[in-house]
């Protein structure tokens, strides 16, 4: 079977301007969304706070849970259904965290027990992150992302040429910003696991880009007389069926995690799904044309005969 007929020749490079506009708009929307929301929706990993995941025996109104917690005297509580409706699971969040041993979570548990009975619910997960750790984790998360950018820049510059590395990294920055933007638009929580997702996206997206770069390099050697724009366009077309196939398989597995992996891993899989789609787009429409733009701005000294 074939999805893409051989010899097909879409004019990807010709769509460069439109793609640049689309990307610029997407980045702008992402940044505006981030500014409007005052940054990402930091989860407790970074902001500090307490999350308790509770599973009730039967359906319980959210208001009822809220009322039962009045006695604990929390400044800001959000209660949210978690997973499927018939699971009766809720996430109770507060920005507060305690460093003392009595513990906020213990008091919340006691209040729930008073209202619903000890056997009426089960505490499935408790996470308490103090502000100090939150700062540490934020710093580490940012360093992980930035260092991985730099490491890839160096590797690609070594394996290919510097202009390829710049195109690849800009595409990665592009993917990261837009993925964070989508998460911000959907008000999804930005947790440590999301940082892991971002790094995975970076890995995947550069993967995709390199396959195309590799073909460009090969074609440049084969057809030395050809215009770079044509080489790039031909290379993207030649690798197109691979690109689509791989994306499809990855999307297949990601969708199966989204559907069957459970609520705990849903956000992670969702972020990767968004990133994979954006990353595939950027490999075709951003990373490779950027090499061309770089070449036009500063023609390479190695004259192509």
């Amino acid at each position: 079977m074939e999805l893409i007929k051989p010899g097909i020749n879409f004019d990807f490079v010709g769509k460069m301007r439109i793609a640049a506009l689309v990307s610029a708009a997407a980045i702008l929307i992402s940044i505006v969304s981030l500014i409007a929301h005052g940054g990402p929706n930091w989860g407790i990993d970074f902001a500090g706070g307490t999350v308790i995941q509770v599973k009730f025996q039967k359906d319980v109104p959210i208001d009822g849970i809220r009322r039962s917690l009045d006695a604990v005297n929390l400044s800001e509580v959000t209660i949210q259904q978690f997973g499927a409706r018939d699971e009766h699971e809720y996430l109770i969040r507060t920005a507060e965290s305690t460093e003392d041993l009595k513990g906020l979570s213990g008091r919340i548990e006691d209040s729930l027990a008073a209202a619903f009975g000890r056997d009426g619910f089960e505490v499935r997960r408790v996470e308490v992150v103090g502000p100090k750790v939150g700062r540490d984790l934020t710093q580490k998360g940012i360093m992980a992302v930035v260092f991985s950018w730099i490491a890839m820049l160096v590797y690609i510059a070594w394996r290919f040429e510097f202009r390829f590395a710049v195109g690849g990294i800009l595409a990665l920055v592009h993917d990261t910003i837009i993925t964070v933007g989508v998460l911000s638009l959907l008000r999804m929580e930005f947790s440590l696991v999301i940082v892991a997702a971002l790094l995975t996206i970076i890995g995947y997206s550069i993967n995709d880009t390199i396959v195309i770069y590799d073909r460009i390099r090969e074609n440049m050697r084969k057809n030395v007389r050809q215009e770079l724009a044509q080489v790039i366009n031909a290379s993207i077309n030649q690798t197109l069926s691979r690109t689509i196939l791989t994306v499809l398989t990855v999307v297949l597995v990601l969708v199966s995690i989204l559907l069957f992996g459970g609520a705990v891993i849903f956000d992670f899989a969702f972020a990767i799904l968004v990133g994979v789609i954006v990353g595939t787009y950027s490999s075709i429409f951003i990373a490779s044309p950027l090499v061309l733009a770089w070449e036009r701005a500063r023609p390479s000294k190695r004259k192509r005969k």
Partner: protein, 534 residues
């Protein structure tokens, strides 16, 4: 590459068998004893997010522990100055853990410096100001000494916590220092996190002080605490369970007569008369002598037993107590008494600890996550498999074989390296599937291109592998780079993801390139086939 297909089959088979060998104990935990010894002990560890348990990060308040040391040093310096007949005014510990001294003259300062050089090598002069003919000197602990002390405080805390956890009975606990003053604790399978936190975090400083019976408690509660005495809260009364909360207060002599350091053992016993649990403590030789003397000197007075600044009981000393046995009573449950005995046996923490981070996953959620994780991986694999066969026909089958082997080898390698499987790690397996498939797609697409150019199946396969190899290497190395940074900066489950992804990428290169090639070479070399099913 290796020319001999037989040799390559041998290598592949050896790797797969070795993986199965390492993997078996993880998959079948209940092997019969006779067979069990034949297999390695290493198993894939499940992360706390999968098996349930508790993750704690504690910070040791080293500054607090230093306070005591500086206080003692200040007193010693004071004594030293008096001995040398140097006049001074006020030797005191300041809030930033320095010692401030006021001296009347330059000469006095010279004497102080001599004293420091002779008796206090750990102290140095931080600053000295001459004002109105008076010398104001600030002493501080040498930095090197502070660092040493902090380290020993953390080490000691670590040891104490390890002792407590051991006695609490947790299998495979992990207690490791983190950074300068933090301790990471992982307790798999803990069912009662509240109790565990309580047990680990208690400073457990046991003190004995006399009750101040000469002054009025009421007066002290109004704010007039007599010099040399302190107010202290009593432990909760037995009525608290029923909801009636009432604080009791004690007025105590400030001086501590004896501490838990003199303890040799602590055990839970049940009282004959009321059937209530209490903690029986036994002092060591020195402690027993001190206790004997203290009780002998204070018959008919009340001796308060204090744990972490809370008075547990204050019984009247009826007679001199020799032999070094005493008991702590209070309205305990058996469990509380047992935990108290544990912390007393394990000793007190040299400094209070704060909880910086606590994550607990219940065992049922962990099991849920495993079930759903495995199900989603299997469904994902089936979907990918169907797609590959549909798209590449027989060659797709080869890719599926590579996929299955990939997972077996990946899990075998994880068992071999004692790696931890976490929930994001399962997602890492899924991504590995994607990467492995991608490698085969690259090869197959290349082979197809070559076939279209009119090459023979054998030449097309050879060109496909040769051309795709560098691409696959480049793409995988870059992904590996991302995984390395994830490992470096990640914690817990995220680290598990990085490990799984890294091993998976390396294994996928082996299965997707080396193993599949054997099959294709076998088909294209030995049989003169006209067309490839690709």
């Amino acid at each position: 590459m290796f020319q001999s297909i037989k040799l390559r089959v041998l290598i592949a088979a050896a790797v797969v068998l070795a993986s199965a060998y390492f993997l078996l104990p993880s998959v079948v935990p209940e092997l019969p004893a006779s067979v069990k010894n034949l297999f390695p002990k290493n198993r894939i560890h499940l992360g706390l997010d999968l098996q349930g348990g508790m993750h704690l990060v504690l910070e040791v308040d080293t500054a607090k522990a230093l306070e005591g040391t500086v206080e003692r040093l200040a007193n010693s310096v004071k004594d030293g100055l008096m001995e040398k007949r140097v006049r001074f005014r006020g030797v005191e510990r300041r809030p930033d853990n320095t010692i401030g001294i006021e001296l009347p003259s330059r000469e006095a300062r010279a004497d102080l410096e001599k004293l420091l050089a002779e008796q206090f090598p750990d102290l140095e002069i931080q600053s000295a100001d001459l004002a109105d003919g008076r010398e104001k000197v600030v002493l501080r602990l040498r930095e090197k000494r502070v660092a040493e002390m902090k380290k020993s405080i953390v080490d000691q805390s670590l040891e104490t916590i390890r002792n407590r956890v051991d006695q609490f009975g947790v299998t495979e606990p992990e207690i490791i220092p983190q950074g300068e003053d933090r301790i990471l604790i992982q307790l798999p399978g803990v069912k009662d996190p509240k109790r565990a936190v309580d047990l680990i975090g208690k400073t457990a400083l046991l003190e004995f002080k006399l009750v101040d019976e000469e002054h009025s408690l009421e007066e002290a509660l109004r704010g007039n605490v007599p010099a040399g005495s302190i107010l202290m809260k009593g432990a909760r009364e037995s009525g608290e369970r029923s909801g009636a909360r009432r604080d009791t207060w004690y007025l105590l002599k400030e001086r501590t007569l004896l501490t838990g350091q003199s303890l040799e053992n602590a055990q839970v016993k049940i009282s004959d008369r009321f059937g209530e649990p209490y903690v029986a403590i036994k002092f060591n030789a020195q402690g027993a002598r001190d206790f004997d003397r203290i009780t002998g000197e204070n018959v008919n007075r009340r001796l308060a037993i204090i744990l972490d600044g809370v008075v547990y009981s204050a019984p009247v000393i009826k007679e001199r107590i020799s032999g070094g046995d005493a008991q702590i009573t209070g309205a305990f449950t058996t469990e509380e008494a047992r935990d108290l005995a544990i912390v007393l046996r394990a000793g007190s923490l040299p400094a209070p600890v704060k909880i910086l981070e606590q994550r607990t996953v219940g065992p049922s959620l962990g099991q849920d996550s495993i079930d759903k994780g495995i199900r989603s991986v299997i469904i994902g694999m089936i979907l990918v498999g169907l797609f590959m066969v549909f798209y590449y026909r027989l060659s797709g089958l080869v890719a599926i074989l590579a996929l299955v082997l990939n997972i077996v080898i990946l899990l075998g390698a994880m068992a071999l390296f004692d790696a931890t499987l976490t929930l994001p790690g399962i997602a890492g397996i899924v991504l590995t599937i994607g990467m492995a498939v991608d490698a085969n797609v690259l090869i197959f697409e290349r082979a197809r291109e070559e076939l279209r150019l009119g090459k023979t199946p054998r030449a097309a396969i050879e060109a496909g592998y040769a051309r795709a190899f560098l691409t696959i290497l480049d793409t995988n190395v870059t992904t590996l780079l991302a995984a390395v940074f994830l490992f470096q900066f990640g914690t817990g489950p995220v680290k598990g993801f990085a490990v799984t992804l890294s091993i998976g990428i390396i294994v996928s290169m082996f299965t997707a390139i080396f193993v599949t090639r054997i099959i294709f070479d076998h088909v294209t070399w030995n049989r003169k086939i006209k067309a490839l099913s690709i």
